[in-house]
Subunit: 322 residues, 2 copies
Amino acid sequence: MKICIIGYGTVGRGIVELIHRKKLDITVVGICGRNCGVYNEKGIDLSMLIKGTKGVGLDKYPHARNDIDANKMIDMRCADVYVELTPTNVIDGEPGYSFIKRILANQCHVVTSNKGPVVLYYKGLQKLALKNDVKFLYEATVGGAVPFLNMVRETLRGNKIINVCGILNGTTNYILTRMGAEGAGLEQILREAQELGIAEADPSYDVDGIDAAAKAVIIANEFFSANAGMKDVDVCGITRITPEFVSLADKNGFSVKLIAEVGRDVLRVSPRLIEKSHPLCVDGTLNALNIKVDMAREVTVVGYGAGKYETAGAVISDILSI
Amino acid sequence: MKICIIGYGTVGRGIVELIHRKKLDITVVGICGRNCGVYNEKGIDLSMLIKGTKGVGLDKYPHARNDIDANKMIDMRCADVYVELTPTNVIDGEPGYSFIKRILANQCHVVTSNKGPVVLYYKGLQKLALKNDVKFLYEATVGGAVPFLNMVRETLRGNKIINVCGILNGTTNYILTRMGAEGAGLEQILREAQELGIAEADPSYDVDGIDAAAKAVIIANEFFSANAGMKDVDVCGITRITPEFVSLADKNGFSVKLIAEVGRDVLRVSPRLIEKSHPLCVDGTLNALNIKVDMAREVTVVGYGAGKYETAGAVISDILSI
């Protein structure tokens, strides 16, 4: 199978390294950076690429060409699957949205880790994929390495989904866990999390619940055909949660968690008290999703929602399923 | 899709009720009890069957015939899928083993919830299914409603499995949880669990770790191509665990759990100390499986390992996947 990668950041590098290291039967024919690209119809030499781009952008790689960009590479239809990995933008979904539309219209499959286009244009992109008889997959957008979407789609067949509750943001879970363990305040933990690379320079996307809300929208559209958008989510972040509150909860057998809840009539992200013995009550950067269904009663899946190889692994699982 | 059910106990009834209640696109053409059967090539009237067998065996149902048995029904090739639900027997796998061989040889698909044949004759049955180009599925044998096998097979594609640890027996988990909460001893809790229908009259299958060992064998053969049998499992049950031990563990932040561990070089069932914050540390009758892999790092799945509709749901998911 031939793939072309658009966006060569952390996840893109992770994918290339895994394909190379695991000797997967996937041929990378093209990679596009912001203003340049690498192309070889017989397959890019990944060993050389990994060495040549270590610590630098694709534009510093000697074999990168300036006469090639994502749109050109898309129109060449050089791959069976285009892997779209441009940064998430939940305002207008660009540039990912235009790339994905163009790829699907060209009748090639799309795998993406980019939440923006999925959150904003779910229905339209699904329709376009169906019309062109190609797949549009985005497992990595919800729960990173945890196969939330595919698990419900493929392994809980026949079950009617009643309600979904989950910890969908590892950064806030890390902050709340440390608040409970050390009694430190949000600002101090945030600073340290930023140094560790767990939190972004601008942490509002995480701590205000926007990231979790975006994932809740994807779940609502995927599992409940909700046609929902960001504005439909009732969001409250964790900025007003204090160590005193977390400690008091702890004394009573609860943990404070930022929970996304999605159901037929509910679409909400808010801090909630979860019993410590509940399967959803997982710590650190872990993500968890509890799915209530009519036959299996309830199933909880726990795993790592972010990380270079974890997210890359989810993308690769999608590629291999095509 | 036409199915024929062999063995009309709790799970068989659960399947019939779910197909009827959820109006699933599955036609039940045959059902075999111990010495009788019901057959209608156009589909059995499930509403009448459910009413007519309420609280009694299939042999009391007016439309059950004595001139029909499982072997006859199998040789009629009246269904696309035969659902084999005879009781588990880990000594020689009968009568399920002979039924399954006969069905596969007749080129019909098999879905089973019966651990015996899968534990004892995994390789032979897989080969027979492959040779006859039919499916042999058994999701319900490990973890009941929790899609352990299908999740790893289908949604963690491309991942190499490094190690699997799990709570695979709900009865012992229930006993250990209550021991921790109440300080009661094994015998007292067992008596109450038997009254609640959580433990069998002869509880040794659960408390000696045999049930968990059988499931560990299935996982070893499925995920590690181990060609393992019951004798290969290093088993220690929970009979020597005391409330004092559980309470001491608790004071140090641990729970005592009966853990099955399966890896390239390990096949073991034993009571172990699990940190309370670990995703595997779930209580009551819950089952849990923690899977370490090379890309997603680790994924934990939690759910109900037994129960009429839960197990029936796992069988139905297998049927629908065919």
